[in-house]
């Protein structure tokens, strides 16, 4: 979990950066990772991760693969994977994700659903890989 959080807070491959002094209005779609430090009103969809900086103000429903929130978000969050909510964050809206961490001091007002469907899939994959290794050993014997 800690490693995931570190990765989210230091996105190496960023496609989009919205700076502090910029306001965006409308439907924002992306295929890569996004860092938001400015103001965004509308809707955000990405196949990558979103990092919301501590000075950001977002008024939007958000769909993403992973997300780290340090600023203010008004809107529903639908995150396929891991969601990290920092101590300075404020979220007003419903949250759906498969893993979550909430730091002391965070303000959340909404329903939180942590759906472990993705985790189960991860388990299935690792079990399958183990079986393959065992098969290989048996074959060698």
């Amino acid at each position: 979990m800690f490693k995931k959080e570190q990765n989210l807070n230091n996105l190496n491959e960023v496609e989009t950066i919205i700076g502090e002094s910029v306001q965006v209005k409308g439907n924002f779609e992306s295929n890569g990772n996004i860092i938001v430090n400015g103001i965004l009103d509308g809707e955000i969809k990405t196949k990558g991760a979103i990092l919301v900086g501590d000075k950001a103000k977002i008024n939007a429903n958000i769909k993403a693969e992973e997300m780290a929130v340090k600023g203010k978000v008004i809107g529903n969050l639908k995150i396929n994977g891991y969601l990290s909510i920092g101590g300075s964050a404020g979220v007003l809206g419903d949250i759906e994700c498969s893993q979550i961490s909430i730091e002391k001091g965070a303000e959340i007002n909404g329903n939180i659903v942590v759906n472990e469907k993705n985790n189960k899939n991860d388990n299935k994959i690792s079990k399958k890989e183990t079986e393959t290794e065992e098969d290989a050993i048996l074959k060698n014997e």
Partner: protein, 239 residues
């Protein structure tokens, strides 16, 4: 045959020109010289040379010289490669394509490493490098889906070629990926980067500038053009 187009301001660089010509002779890259100061219609002159078998057009000058040749080559049916020998200042295109100075330019011309670069449309004009406008009062409508407005003074650039100054460590600008790069810098130190396909720029007071030379009034619609140019590039190019 090589056709060298010498800009009119090169009279101030006689010594540099002599050194370049010696290098070109050593590399067996001689050709015909067109002096811009003696030519009334460059398009006609270049088209005639291509008709007579010119294989490469070489811009000897700065960005302004290169842009005038790019606009001609982009609008003819033949695919004739172009090279740049940068002289003096305002040579940002040469820098981006890995041509650092006039001496290296001769070796790069000799190596003949050709890359096709898409040009960008701004209303009915073409540009290759970048578009610039001041932030103040600018509204940008992007990809027909969202609007962006800077809240503080600064500058807006749309890059096709990567600038020498690295804006973001993690972002690579590539003029061959059909993606434009919108970069906004606001004071004191806020930066925005968005990969976009098209943009409409509106500003009632400020004009935009294409490739550091050509002024253009808003509203301006910017998108990748179907037209492209084959450039002879250096190994040290930024893409």
């Amino acid at each position: 045959m090589n056709i060298f187009v010498y800009d009119a301001y090169l009279d101030k660089y006689k010594k540099t020109i002599r050194i370049i010509e010696e290098s070109l002779n050593k590399l067996n890259l001689q050709g015909k010289i067109l002096y811009l100061k003696n030519i009334k219609n460059l398009k006609e002159a270049i088209t005639n040379e291509i008709g007579s078998g010119a294989k490469t057009i070489i811009s000897v000058g700065n960005d302004k010289t290169a842009i005038s040749i790019i606009n001609i080559l982009a609008n003819i049916s033949e695919n004739i490669p172009m090279a740049i020998i940068p002289i003096g200042s305002n040579n940002y295109i040469a820098e981006s394509i890995g041509v650092p100075n006039e001496k290296e330019a001769c070796y790069i011309l000799s190596s003949r490493r050709i890359e096709k670069i898409k040009l960008i449309e701004a209303n009915d004009l073409l540009f290759i490098n970048n578009f610039f406008i001041k932030n103040k009062g600018t509204i940008a409508n992007i990809d027909n889906s969202y609007q962006l407005s800077p809240q503080k003074d600064g500058s807006i650039f749309v890059y096709n070629l990567p600038p020498k100054k690295i804006l973001f460590e993690s972002i690579k600008i590539n003029p061959q990926d059909n993606i434009l790069n919108l970069c906004i810098e606001t004071k004191p130190n806020s930066k925005t980067h968005l990969p976009i396909k098209s943009i409409e720029i509106i500003n009632e007071k400020e004009k935009g500038i294409l490739d550091n030379f050509t002024e253009i009034k808003t509203p301006i619609r910017i998108k990748a053009s179907e037209k492209s140019i084959s450039l002879i590039v250096g190994k040290e190019r930024a893409f």
